[in-house]
């Protein structure tokens, strides 16, 4: 005030002080009267309650089912029980990959990926363990002592989808101990993720509440919408750059099928499809009345919004158009896989340029043409 007094005539200052509350009241009244497009918070609440939490609930349920089927398989080994367990693995993996587009919050804080899905799988170490007649383990040991390459869906896949699975179940105590330890770890971990979102778990407060409140903290940092969009960008970049381009030989000297996980079960196409379905749900919401990121993009550019919706649908269709296992298609029907790659690249371009730009998302640092944070 003293400082202002020395610069501004006191009459002006007093007039400004008198006018300020009136102006502020008018502004607030105007702001309160305005509606229209949904707010970030409304979108985040819908996204959490209609898409994210249900997806993790589904994952926890499917993981429990897989654990149950694996236990049943070990109790009474048979081809039918093995097929049931394999089917449960496919369902759980489908649920898990649909949450790839929701890799924020508890799943990141808990570093669940290293427990549930790590690539590449150390198949030699797994085989060695199973072959060891004195091998014994449980979920806690797998969680605390095993490397990430010996845990999760890839390891379960290696155990379940071997040709001699039924015989191995019958003949190896270690096999069943390992399998059940892995599926039990999967069940515990996915239940914990869901609990963190909805009940609070070890956090005390449900992550849902914190996450949806972060819309209003955008002035400070850590905007939740930004995190959701960034997750989509990183996911599609991983699919296009790291997996598909490498597998198709666009990045190296030739095709490299090790870039695609899920080869033992020939699950590559299903994996891709589920990842895209997860992205589609995050973007469009779970139904006609449910909000998604699309509802934030559309008011700024209907064209971009419509194009991304079409691109997501086209990519899912392109997955369906590929005949047979992905690894076979890459070598025998590459034109189908290249068509799929192009559709995926379309999504990447729209997300990484237009959507990121429209929603003011910083993928690396942040920038507003030259005047950036610093």
């Amino acid at each position: 005030m003293l400082f202002l007094n020395s610069l501004v005539p006191s009459k002006l200052l007093h007039a400004a002080v008198r006018l300020a509350p009136i102006l502020a009241a008018l502004l607030l009244a105007a702001a309160a009267c305005l509606g229209g497009a949904p707010s970030d918070k409304e979108v985040l609440i819908d996204l959490t309650d209609e898409v994210v939490a249900p997806a993790y609930r589904q994952l926890a349920g499917d993981s429990a089912e897989l654990d149950s089927k694996a236990t049943a398989l070990c109790s009474a080994p048979s081809e039918a029980a093995l097929e049931d367990t394999r089917q449960a693995w496919r369902s759980a993996r489908a649920s898990w990959l649909q949450t790839s587009a929701m890799s924020f919050g508890p799943v990141m804080d808990r570093r669940s990926e290293s427990l549930l899905d790590w690539s590449p799988t150390d198949t030699a170490a797994i085989d060695e363990s199973v072959a060891d007649t004195g091998f014994s383990t449980d979920a806690d040991q797998v969680r605390n002592s095993y490397s990430a390459s010996r845990r999760g869906f890839g390891s379960i896949e290696h155990l379940l989808f071997r040709d001699d699975a039924v015989a191995t179940v019958s003949g190896s105590l270690g096999y069943c101990q390992y399998l059940i330890a892995l599926t039990q770890l999967g069940r515990e971990e996915t239940e914990a993720i869901f609990a963190d979102w909805t009940e609070g778990g070890e956090l005390g407060t449900p992550y849902r509440d914190y996450f949806t409140d972060r819309a209003s903290l955008s002035l400070v940092s850590g905007d939740a919408v930004e995190e959701v969009v960034r997750t989509q960008v990183f996911l599609i970049r991983d699919i296009v750059h790291m997996r598909m381009a490498t597998a198709l030989g666009l990045r190296g000297d030739g095709t490299d099928l090790t870039a695609i996980p899920g080869n033992a079960a020939d699950n590559g196409l299903a994996d891709l499809r589920n990842e895209l379905i997860g992205m589609q749900r995050v973007y469009e919401g779970s139904g006609a009345d449910s909000l998604g990121i699309s509802d934030l993009v559309r008011p700024l550019s209907e064209e971009t919004d419509q194009r991304l919706r079409e691109q997501l649908a086209a990519a899912i269709k392109a997955v369906d158009d590929v005949d047979g296992p992905l690894r076979v298609a890459i070598e025998e029907r590459p034109e189908q896989v290249h068509a799929l790659y192009d559709r995926l690249a379309d999504i990447q371009l729209t997300l990484a340029t237009e959507v990121v730009s429209l929603l003011g998302v910083s993928v690396g640092f942040s920038d507003t043409d030259g005047d950036t944070l610093r």
């Binding site: 020395s6 005539p9 305005l34 750059h241 666009l250 008011p299 640092f365 507003t368 005047d371």
Partner: protein
């Protein structure tokens, strides 16, 4: 005084007879007119303080490591490839010395040495990597360069405490304040001129995008999502930038203008945290527009407020006319004039290039083009041994940090520099002479992503330079 000014004008301009000589002599007289040095001292103190805050923020936020130590490659400025990041201990020492220089400037301790060190240390950091360019830090470099030559330590400094001469002559030529005002004023004027473009005026872009995304700001969020608010703020911002200097120069409107300026910059700081130090720097340096003795008035009020009876230090004396030889004064004025002419010319250099500067970015930097574009790009390089051979994809993030990738992906000169990085790296690995083409797409102010670079051009053969770049594709006129 008058005779000396006339003689200086004659020296500077030759013996031009008549009104022109009188005009120049009046101008020089005005430039040399003695004024209180307290405003300039306050400028020095505020400048040093802001610099210190910036250095501390840099250190606390881990930016020294993120921007200068983590990147394997840096994008040098033309002619400054010798400016390289030091090893870790060197960078931290560099910033520590910079912080000390800020303190020296602020306290007026060995001022010339401090401000020279500040300029060199600060500018060195800014020159390490083109992806770290910021308009307001360019301003800081320019101001610190100017300050090297200005006696801003005549009062309110440790130097003055130890110098009886400074007490004898607590005045400075008015031209010193004018020079600082001119440099600060150019930022607003060119910032305003740059806003006179169709996107800003007729589509309220990119403010529409930015305000919409600030829609969850408490209380006023709903308002910010209204389209008319974006238009109002776009036009208001342009008018503000274009006219604020005039209002600040006019004594009667100055207090109001500064009040508006503070509100404007506070609002931008609140709504756009990514602006970082910019609003605070501008609020600080624009104090130079106030009367030369404003700090004395402030001190007087403080003394009255705390009931102190001692009279404040008053400005009484005029400078001795024979303080400097004529030729020195002439040289100083001529140098300042040339410096300002350069400062006017540099932001206009984009007219030498074809196309839309906001798309091509040819002549974009060092031109006070602030908050004009929302651009995001994506670049993938196709590398092959010849045009018909199968190309291998190379991604910029194989060479650069995420922050560098984000910045380079919409700047053609940096896309070219990265292509050369790829070319040289492959050559070093023994792959021979590679051809490097770019699939570069940019979304700009809400438009659909469009190709920025001609995908048929082998960027490995393109030489960097300041000439027009034919390999940049035209600006997409269609709006999204």
């Amino acid at each position: 005084m008058s005779a000396q000014a006339t003689s200086i004008a004659s020296l500077a301009l030759g013996r031009v007879p008549g009104g022109f000589e009188r005009l120049t002599s009046r101008l020089i007289r005005s430039v040399l007119h003695p004024v209180s040095p307290y405003s300039a001292a306050a400028f020095r103190i505020v400048f040093g303080l802001l610099g210190l805050v910036a250095v501390v923020r840099f250190a606390l936020n881990g930016w020294i490591s993120q921007l200068y130590l983590e990147p394997v490659h840096h994008f040098s400025y033309y002619g400054f490839s010798w400016v390289q990041a030091w090893p870790a201990w060197g960078m931290y020492l560099h910033f520590a010395l910079l912080g000390l220089a800020c303190l020296g400037v602020m306290l007026g301790y060995r001022y010339r040495l401090s401000i020279t060190a500040f300029f060199l240390l600060f500018t060195y950091v800014e020159l390490i990597d083109r992806t770290t360019y910021l308009n307001h830090y360019y301003l800081v470099s320019l101001l610190s360069f100017i300050m090297i030559f200005l006696p801003l330590n005549r009062v309110a400094s440790l130097d003055a405490l130890g110098s009886p001469k400074a007490h004898d002559s607590p005045v400075i030529p008015r031209g010193i304040l004018w020079l600082l005002m001119a440099q600060v004023g150019l930022v607003y004027v060119f910032g305003g001129l740059a806003k006179l473009n169709p996107d800003w005026l007729f589509h309220a872009q990119p403010l529409r995008i930015w305000l919409y995304n600030a829609g969850d700001v408490p209380l006023i969020g709903g308002l910010l999502r209204e389209e008319w608010v974006a238009y109002a703020m776009s036009w208001g911002g342009a008018v503000f930038d274009l006219t604020i200097v005039s209002w600040l120069l006019w004594r009667r409107t100055r207090p109001w203008a500064y009040g508006v300026l503070v509100l404007f910059h506070l609002a931008t700081a609140l709504l756009f945290p990514a602006l970082g130090m910019f609003p605070w720097i501008m609020m600080g340096v624009t104090l130079i527009f106030f009367a030369p003795d404003w700090p004395l008035k402030l001190i007087k009020r403080v003394r009255q407020h705390v009931n102190l009876r001692q009279a404040p230090v008053e400005f009484r004396r005029r400078p001795p006319l024979n303080e400097s030889p004529d030729w020195q004064i002439t040289a100083a004025i001529a140098t300042a004039a040339i410096f300002l002419l350069i400062q006017v010319a540099v932001p206009l250099r984009h007219y030498a290039y074809p196309g839309n500067v906001r798309w091509t970015e040819e002549g974009y930097s060092f031109a006070w083009r602030m908050m004009l574009t929302e651009k995001t790009g994506q670049v993938v390089y196709r590398v092959s041994s010849d045009p018909d051979a199968r190309a291998t994809l190379v991604y910029p993030d194989e060479y650069l940090t995420p922050a560098q990738v984000e910045r380079m992906s919409h700047q053609p000169d940096l896309i070219l520099a990265t292509a050369h990085l790829v070319r040289d790296d492959l050559a070093n690995q023994g792959y021979g002479r590679a051809q490097v083409r770019a699939d570069a797409y940019v979304s700009y102010n809400g438009r659909p992503a469009a190709r920025l670079i001609d995908p048929t051009v082998d960027l490995a053969t393109v030489q960097p330079g300041i000439g027009p770049r034919a390999w940049i594709l035209p600006y997409p006129e269609k709006r999204g």
